[in-house]
């Protein structure tokens, strides 16, 4: 049996990957993928805690996190398409004004 701390360390590494990608990338789509990576790191720790405590509430919460991630992905990607249509770029440094 792998101890809980190993899963927590893995979840922390995945979260740190997401944070680093979010801060250093310029491509807006990759930034979005970094957010998904962070959400997944947190999901892993939820499931690990659920297995350790023997309670299912953690798994239920993962379900809700996935629902929110799906909603966020749909709206965010629609925004990306709208931004690309008006500005012809995906570089976040060139998309720093709400108004054209």
């Amino acid at each position: 049996m792998v101890p809980l701390s190993y899963y927590l360390v893995l979840s922390g590494i995945l979260f740190a990957c997401g944070v680093t990608g979010f801060l250093i990338k310029r491509n807006i789509i990759t930034i979005f993928m970094s957010i998904e990576l962070m959400l997944n790191g947190v999901n892993l720790s939820f499931v690990a805690f659920a297995a350790q405590w023997g309670k299912l509430s953690g798994q239920i919460f993962v379900f809700f996190v996935m629902v929110v991630a799906a909603a966020e992905a749909a709206v965010g990607l629609a925004i990306i398409i709208a931004v690309y249509r008006t500005r012809e770029t995906l570089n976040v440094d060139q998309v720093n004004l709400l108004k054209l």
Partner: protein, 169 residues
């Protein structure tokens, strides 16, 4: 079912997950990033199975690897990635990024060292045969209200996505 070779599978799956996570933030081509993210998600589904959560593992594969990532790939194909690849990949914030990641790592380690009492000592084994049934009972009983709100959120997201991506409203 008695688990076999859990340590080996843990290291295999976590290695795949970390490799995928690093590839996501280092690849130039967004398509490669998306494929690396799919690798991470599938490895995580395997880890969920090891943690006696077959329902969450199934939802992870169907919803994340099957649904959200297809959406990502569609959007990547809608925009012109050849122009994106020629641009500068990283911004000037790499120092801030590394400092933030290191601070987060230190925070996690501190919480783990100081918060001994937060973590349970003994493992309670979850029943994996009736996992889906128990989740359904909880979801439609105790968490009914949250479930309804989640469905409302999805409805709002559908309308928002359609309105936002439309050329002319």
């Amino acid at each position: 079912m008695q688990p076999v070779a859990t340590t080996f599978f843990f290291y295999l799956l976590s290695g795949a997950a970390i490799l995928g996570g690093v590839l996501v933030i280092t690849r130039k081509n967004p398509v490669h990033s998306a494929l690396a993210l799919i690798m991470t998600l599938l490895a995580q589904a395997g880890l969920y199975l090891m943690l006696y959560a077959p329902f969450v593992a199934g939802v992870q594969i169907i919803l994340y690897a099957g649904g959200i990532m297809v959406l990502f790939l569609f959007v990547i194909m809608l925009v012109n990635i050849e122009k994106v690849q020629k641009q500068e990949q990283f911004n000037k914030q790499w120092l801030v990024g590394i400092v933030a990641a290191a601070a987060l790592g230190v925070l996690f380690v501190l919480v783990y060292m100081k918060g001994e009492s937060l973590f349970p000592k003994h493992v309670v084994r979850l029943a994996e045969e009736s996992n889906t049934q128990e989740i359904a009972v909880l979801l439609y009983g105790q968490y009914m209200f949250a479930f309804e709100i989640a469905s409302l959120l999805l409805l709002v997201a559908i309308i928002g996505a359609v309105v936002m991506a439309k050329k002319r409203i």
